[in-house]
Symmetry: C2
Subunit: 192 residues, 2 copies
Amino acid sequence: MTRSTPRPRNAAATRQAILDSAVVAFTRHGYDGVGVREIAAEAGVTAMLVNRYFGSKEGLFTEVVDVSFAPATMVPADPAALAEQTARALVERTGPQADHLGPFELMLKSAANPRAAEIIRAGIQKHVGARFAAALTGPQAGERAELGLALLAGTWLMRRLIGTPGLRDADPESLVARVTRMLAVVVEPPSR
Amino acid sequence: MTRSTPRPRNAAATRQAILDSAVVAFTRHGYDGVGVREIAAEAGVTAMLVNRYFGSKEGLFTEVVDVSFAPATMVPADPAALAEQTARALVERTGPQADHLGPFELMLKSAANPRAAEIIRAGIQKHVGARFAAALTGPQAGERAELGLALLAGTWLMRRLIGTPGLRDADPESLVARVTRMLAVVVEPPSR
DNA sequence: CGACGAAGTTATCACCTGTAGACTTGTCGG
DNA sequence: CCGACAAGTCTACAGGTGATAACTTCGTCG
């Protein structure tokens, strides 16, 4: 009943291997910075399989964005400590070692290409935006949520991609405290 | 004595034309998104001249970053109104029409390439960092300045490059007010 | 006025890009 | 046991990449 050999010649497993390889490659080097041959080689297959399973490089990227933005992207549940927890997670994941390879890196590395940017926008709207906005109460939740995302993305950019010294060498606790205060502006509902 | 004909065959003028073309092209499409042929064609010369005058594409990019970050990059003088003025300038320049093509766009579009990112980091340290930090008083001026830059860059990214709807369709005045409050966290010296 | 040097061009190299068609090989149902 | 169908590969194309060497044209100064 249960096949002794899991799959004929590894149909879905190969597809998954390509997707995994693509997640890493696109996040590391951006949409334009990596070729399908490179992705396929890392997965142990030839470049043709990419087009076979995902239609095109763009189709593969679409799926990469989808799976990369799907998991709970540093959005804690409790609204009260949301700012502080988010700030701490950000600082930790953008630290000196930091091999995390999250969706922020994928977004920043691929934003240069307009087609990729459009795909990312769709992914954000589908996954992150809604979830983040749901954690926020009060008016203009969308604007406030995306402004928070902007701070996170910008900090990720300066601290990790560009490597600005003031942020790279900053005391983590001081950084957490300051980011928390900035996030508080958009997290707390405009109680006025 | 003063030569009637300014220069033999347009020596420096051609160089400047290439540089101008490169500023526009690199800012629009990023370091990896444009080729030297395209830049040279826009300047009305052949690709060879780029290598002749700037050594390589990387050398040209270095000079582009230098001239692009050199002008007063939205850093007002008065520290009191600094947050509000900066926020207003940001919102205006990332608006729907917005053909400004500033250094932020250059940075965001080219950050994917590590070599380009390194060049940008040097440019920021040379021009923006020092000037911005000088406008801030108190301890951790560098960290606070770059955190402000991070917010500006992140907002530019989400609002203009990605095009997230919550920020694109936000009321400008509301956005200015909120960014001002976030910037205030890093602008006001830690009076504690 | 004539030649030397700078300014600019043409041709080309070696390599990489995404995609397509035709081919081979493995595996499972009958 | 074998044929059929899917999984995977090979070859190739048409175009683009940055960079180099050799060549032609123009301007100026002795």
